[in-house]
């Protein structure tokens, strides 16, 4: 950050994540390998990568997965949202609000609170472990369906812990809503999926708070990635506008009426509006989404009947496929071109964190000038919190925030 007198003149969020070249080495791989390979982009949201990859491949191959197989995919996503959001709310974000360096410190004073967070996280992981085989980089999700589908009896066993989790999520919404939030609102350009009848996980049209309403197939005509000198993550722009916002607050604000009745009620009861523009309140929105995901998971389990086949037959054909799903942190876009043998010719992947980079900079630009009088260490912590509002996957870069302030 560059400061002249008491004015902030420049903010740059530099991300030093070493390049790993996924889009390059996917070329020449088999289309069936994409879900497993791309899950290795992020160990915190592997389900999201697997989902975007399978939807893009099924789009290219003109396969439509429906019924209970589709419901199981949504269930896996519920598990990831619960796990990832609980991790962020309790372990990464709440300590900022309460003045602790981390959840371990927080547990010394409030062990019950941290235990609740851990058990909530575990309830999400239980779903992923059953459906996916393991929590990180699950092995059971494939183009066309699954390798093996669970029996009704094994799925129903998840219901008890999930009912507990739903109560704990409701407590979480109430607890996060009474934290103290810095005054800050921005006129964000929210972008999320929207589905006619569901709160979005796997499918929908891409919509924005300023009227965008497009098919995922048209993503590349509206969103442009830009490579800037100071960061290894590519910046995204929408229709010429620099910064847009994806993730829980965007999903919530664009899809409030699709939340489960319990989640809507809980949000409104705490005084959260149907549209939320204070990024610090993302912790409440995440909690509302945990509640919704528990509710949705219970609904899917209740209606589950074991499908006859674990996966559909996949006829090979050349084509281009597009997939966009809602990762815990926001829209995750995949595009693949494959040949008639199913070999990947090229791949494009746009993760949510890179899309939010510009918005994070904008937030810092608004936040910092009002707090320049803070001591350096205090200011650094507040800035970290501004970054952590976005739950960036690059958790390390954000905890490792080196605040450089050039004062002229």
């Amino acid at each position: 950050m560059k400061v002249k007198g008491d004015k902030l003149v420049e903010v740059r969020l530099k991300i030093f994540e070493p390049p790993r070249f996924f889009e390059a080495f996917l070329r020449g791989r088999d289309f069936r390998e994409a879900p497993d390979i791309t899950s290795r982009i992020c160990g915190i949201c592997p389900i999201a990568y697997q989902m975007s990859a399978i939807h893009a491949m099924e789009d290219a191959l003109k396969v439509k997965v429906d019924g209970q197989l589709r419901a199981l995919r949504r269930l896996a996503y519920c598990g990831e949202w619960i796990e990832s959001h609980a991790l962020h709310v309790y372990m990464l974000h709440a300590p900022d609000f309460l003045g602790y360096a981390d959840a371990i410190q927080m547990a010394k004073d409030q062990p019950g609170l941290v235990q609740r967070g851990l058990q909530l996280k575990k309830a999400g992981n239980e779903i992923i472990r059953l459906l996916g085989g393991r929590e990180i980089h699950p092995i059971n999700i494939r183009v066309g369906g699954f390798y093996k589908v669970p029996s009704r009896a094994s799925l129903v066993r998840l219901a008890e812990p999930l009912k507990w989790a739903r109560d704990a999520a409701l407590e979480t919404v109430r607890w996060t809503a009474q934290l103290s939030f810095p005054e800050m609102e921005q006129d964000y350009l929210f972008v999320a999926l929207r589905h006619p009848s569901e709160y979005p996980f796997n499918e929908g049209r891409l919509v924005s708070s300023k009227g965008l309403d497009i098919s995922v197939h048209d993503y590349d005509q509206h969103f442009i990635e830009e490579h800037i000198a100071y960061s290894n993550a590519l910046h995204s722009m929408l229709d010429g506008r620099d910064a847009y916002f994806c993730g829980p607050m965007a999903r919530y604000s664009l899809n409030f009426e699709k939340l489960s009745p319990l989640a809507q009620e809980a949000a409104l009861a705490t005084g959260l509006d149907r549209v939320c523009r204070n990024p610090f309140k993302s912790i409440v929105v995440r909690s509302v989404e945990i509640l919704h995901a528990c509710d949705e998971a219970l609904r899917i389990i209740d209606q589950y009947e074991m499908p006859e086949r674990a996966a559909l037959e996949i006829p090979l054909r050349a084509g281009v496929g597009y997939g966009c799903t809602e990762a815990p942190r926001g829209i995750l876009y995949h595009r693949y071109r494959i040949d008639e043998q199913g070999t990947i010719l090229d791949a494009k992947i746009v993760p949510p964190t890179s899309q939010n980079q510009k918005t994070i900079e904008e937030d810092l630009r608004q936040f910092v000038p009002k707090h320049l009088a803070l001591p350096q260490e205090e200011l650094r912590w507040r800035c970290e919190q501004v970054v952590r509002n976005y739950d960036p996957c690059l958790s390390c870069s954000t905890h490792f925030l080196k605040l450089e302030i050039d004062r002229e």
Binding site: R20, F22, E23, I37, R40, G43, I44, I136, I139, E226
Partner: protein, 264 residues
């Protein structure tokens, strides 16, 4: 004997997906117990607290892919009494080591519009290529139980209990029917290091080798068997070239089939 001072744990990240260090936070039932025995002194994914080194136990995730990281790993080694690599990236170079078989300049130009901004090495290499490593934990991702075992082994001064036999052993112990014998599904289990608990075959899927080679694997023989099942040599290159592509036995095997392809 009661320790007067808790040993200090540090977690370090290099090129990786964060999944292996997340495994520590996925120990939902054990995390607070661990924190009672060991001081989490440096864990940027989970904490802003930073306690100065030296550290008694360092867990290192990720591979070395940039000039800066090639320097940084030496600092980590100097600050660490006992250094354990966690996962396929740190132990074998990871999926990003697929660049090692190609021209990295071409890779950069495929992904980035402005190649001049990117600073990267030609190869992705495991930690042991750069500094002395006291113990290597395998897997993409590592197993939670093996991680807990390594930490408790460290605390009690014993050797970690991570057998180097194959995934097949675990299938037998679990009573999982062999997917290769019963269904004709190609499975890397016979040459892959155990540790995952043989998850894939229990989901009717062949093992894809994410824990890397077991001790003395007979990859050549397994490739022949895959051939009987209809696997082409081009596919064999891909099968051995994934999350542990540069682990020696897998690298040799994939290159053998690549040669067959090009000589045709």
């Amino acid at each position: 004997m009661r320790r007067t001072k808790k040993p200090k744990l540090a977690v370090w990240k290099f090129a990786s997906c964060d999944g292996c260090q997340l495994t520590l936070l996925d120990c939902e039932d054990e995390l607070l117990t661990i924190a009672g025995e060991i001081e989490i002194a440096n864990f940027p994914e989970a904490s802003r607290a930073l306690v100065k080194g030296p550290y008694d136990l360092s867990l290192v995730e990720g591979s070395i892919t940039t000039p800066h990281d090639a320097e940084r790993i030496h600092q980590v080694r100097r600050a660490s009494k006992f250094l354990v690599t966690i996962g396929a990236c740190a132990t074998a170079g990871g999926i990003q080591a697929l660049r090692n078989f190609k021209d990295v300049k071409e890779f950069i130009s495929i992904v980035y519009a402005q190649p001049q901004y990117i600073e990267t090495l030609n190869k992705s290499t495991p930690i042991a290529d750069h500094v002395r490593v006291d113990f290597e934990l395998r897997g993409c991702p590592i197993s939670k139980f093996q991680l807990l075992d390594v930490i408790s082994a460290f605390l009690s001064g014993r050797k970690p209990n991570t057998p180097a036999y194959s995934v097949c052993m675990e299938c037998k112990r679990r009573g999982t029917v062999c997917v290769m014998v019963a269904h004709g599904t190609p499975c890397l289990g016979p040459v892959t290091h155990d540790g995952c608990g043989a998850i894939c075959p229990s989901y009717l899927r062949g093992c894809y080798g994410c824990f890397g080679p077991k001790e003395t694997p007979n990859t050549d023989s397994l490739s022949t068997w895959f051939g009987h099942l209809g696997t082409k040599s081009q596919e064999l290159v891909r099968i051995f070239r994934s999350y542990n592509a540069t682990a020696e036995p897998f690298r040799r095997e994939s290159e053998a089939h690549e040669d067959k392809n090009s000589s045709r």
